[in-house]
Subunit: 424 residues, 2 copies
């Protein structure tokens, strides 16, 4: 005897609110651009934060060998614990442990890329209606994830004139009792900036004053140019608990392998066991990283030669300098020299480019005319800038700068001149 | 001039509701059990659905070689599209396409294991407050995911006396207008059952009548014993749209590799582009499967020899028969012969085992006394049964059955007898 119920009479299958609210600003902007390169010039794409696309930055052979050894061992085909193999967690703990911020295996959770690390961290801290503090300009994933989960995003300003340091007063003004975490990206995507020890201490002070835990996105940790140091946030914290998110993607140049981690730093036992258990529970939803990569992790961390890391950094620094020097002398552009990561931001004096509505328009036309594609920084909530990825081979970096110069010279209008110049 | 706001004065970092509500019944039950094996008998664990634990079921060399080739090619270290490489999606489409249910590359989304496929599918269909229909007994992940997302779970009954067919009337009685999807697991974990074509057609009829889309968990597809056929749900559907979830985990014996997929079957264009785009958007949250495994996928699907699959199945069938035959003659136990997958469910006539409160108690004591660990089916919402994983080597399967018999003989009380028997 089935009860009479109101049921559907016709097909109507609609995506959930969460699916509809999962908004990827990079896709939204890029998909809306007309990206038709000039057929006379080969395309140079400086838009994607993937160091592997040009083939000039292969990972180290030791990394590949570690993966093959893991396969041959036949020990890593079954399920791992949802937080990862103990041995692999131990290896990460050893690699990142320091006297100021010691780590044990139990402080490490392995994830499917740094993206899942960030997702778990936001997820464990925030309920719908809470808010998180996110840098502007900043990596778009934080907002994409948070908005889809009904979490409010408050953007705090970074200051280009102060090497992209945080506007601490602005950041502090955004904190209220629904603020459930502060996200700090250091070194930064999209800025390539690296905070000083003193600046990090000031950030910690604000977090400490208002009792806000930190999600430190440190996926670019140790990718800093020579002469510049980059302590981890946790190593400077005496009380503020920190979830540090990282992974193999960038420093080891294998973003596709999807190996990430969360390092739990909680010197004062503020997270206690509850946050830890919350992370463990969340990790059981879909399980984490591929076991073959997990099996290789210890060897990857221990056997990658130092020269590999330093070669990558030298290359990124040299390319950044080429790009910065070239564009510094281009009228209407204001590049900001990075200190790490693999990006460089360039300000556009839009007043002097009246032909273009905004950074999207500017970069779109740069493709159409010069076949150079840079991401408009609107994708990072920061209009009137564009981001250059500096992993491209040196010759292409130079060629791209020449073309950008040509493009700007063509459209630049000096302060007191509103007469149209000849257009090459 | 910072505004005065209500802010936190002291540390209080608590896990989110979602973290707290991510409940894993298997962990909850197993962690609550006292699992101290009898020191005189080596432990035989028949509890985990991981075919690799005993080493007797290695994956095929072709599968391992495909992975190594993918590494050597150096082509699969960068980011793949969030839904997977086109070539790999094409390979899956080709592998599963049939005249009745044709598939193109665009109908395939690659995911991090079948678990993420299920998560994306539930996520795209359901808003908080909606409900999903889930089999009882059934794989626990559906409920774990749904509850954490605020989705109601309605359990429909499977009938052990009808080889675990669905009680269709019961299932239909649970449908109302908030029912956003029907989950069908075929072949089944934990039952090892395989539905007939006729039964699948009846399921589709109910779904069609009430316009409910289907999430078909077909991770064990093609793992059916000789003589038994197992058409996919989608191949029998004329109107009902189906998301079929699968992966490499079980049939290729590499669950740790985290390679899963969603096959989108939507002959009548009921999902339209919206559900497809919803899935694509959701896939961008954390990205999916490891690119090395993606790179190997085409070769894995095309080059794994037929003999590998059939050997696995013969083994599972033979072990199931050993187990079924042995336990059929044990007083108080009612094993149900499976037709596929790698599980066998055993009913316990609790009336005849007055020493034990329930299946948890029963299986706990089976460990303490006989060092045999089977999962109590309470973990699948089905008390008074336990589940046996039949991937264990034959000799251990036999030994386990002998011990289970000994255990039962010791505690079995015949109908009209309440005098205690001697306890070995
Ligand atoms: C700042 C930052 N965090 C996290 C990620 C994501 O890393 P993964 O590819 O390991 O998910 C990126 C990738 O570009 C990034 O720039
Ligand atoms: C019915 C069923 N679906 C899905 C899964 C999860 O598969 P995966 O390991 O690929 O995430 C399992 C694993 O046991 C299962 O039994």
């Amino acid at each position: 005897p089935t009860k009479t119920k109101s049921r559907r009479q016709r097909w109507e299958v609609k995506p959930s609110e969460m699916a509809k609210n999962t908004l990827n600003p990079i896709r939204a902007i890029v998909d809306g651009m007309k990206l038709t390169p000039n057929p006379e010039k080969p395309m140079i794409s400086l838009s994607i934060g993937d160091p592997t696309v040009f083939g000039n930055l292969p990972t180290d052979d030791a990394v590949l060998q570690a993966l093959k050894d893991a396969i041959d061992s036949q020990k890593y085909n079954g399920y791992a614990p949802s937080v990862g193999y103990l041995k692999s967690r131990q290896a990460v703990a050893n690699f990142y442990s320091s006297p100021e911020a010691p780590l044990e295996a139990e402080d490490v959770i392995l994830t499917s890329g740094c993206s899942q690390a960030i997702e778990l961290a936001i997820n464990v801290f925030c309920n719908p209606g809470d808010s998180i503090l996110v840098p502007r300009p900043g990596f778009s994933l934080y907002k994409t994830l948070a908005v889809s989960m009904g979490i409010e995003v408050k953007l705090y300003n970074l200051l280009p004139e102060k090497s992209w340091e945080i506007d601490l007063q602005h950041m502090e003004s955004l904190i209220d009792e629904r603020t459930s975490c502060l996200i700090v990206t250091n070194p930064s995507n999209p800025c390539g900036s690296v905070f000083t020890k003193e600046h990090l201490q000031k950030i910690l002070k604000v977090a400490s004053k208002h009792c806000v835990p930190i999600l430190a996105d440190e996926i670019y940790s140790d990718m800093v140019f020579p002469g510049c140091s980059c302590p981890s946030l946790a190593s400077l914290s005496s009380d503020v608990p920190v979830l540090s998110c990282g992974g193999l993607a960038k420093r080891w140049l294998v973003p596709g392998w999807r190996m990430g981690w969360i390092l739990i730093h909680d010197r004062n036992n503020i997270f206690g066991s509850e946050i830890r258990q919350g992370l463990v529970k969340l990790s059981q939803r879909i399980l984490g990283a591929c076991t073959i990569v997990q099996g290789a992790l210890e060897s990857i961390l221990n056997n990658t030669p130092q020269g590999f890391y330093s070669n990558t950094i030298s290359f990124l620094k040299s390319n950044s300098e080429i790009c910065f020097n070239e564009l510094s002398s281009v009228p209407g552009l204001n590049p900001v020299m990075p200190s790490g990561a693999m990006y460089l931001m360039v300000g556009i004096e839009m007043d002097h480019f009246p032909d273009f509505k905004n950074d999207v328009d500017f970069t779109e036309r740069l493709v159409t005319e010069q076949s150079v594609f840079c991401l408009p920084a609107s994708a990072f909530e920061y209009p009137n800038f564009f981001r250059i990825v500096v992993t491209v081979p040196e010759a292409l970096m130079e060629e791209a700068c020449v073309r950008i110069r040509e493009f700007c010279q063509c459209y630049y209008r000096p302060p007191s001149c509103d007469v149209c110049q000849s257009r090459g």
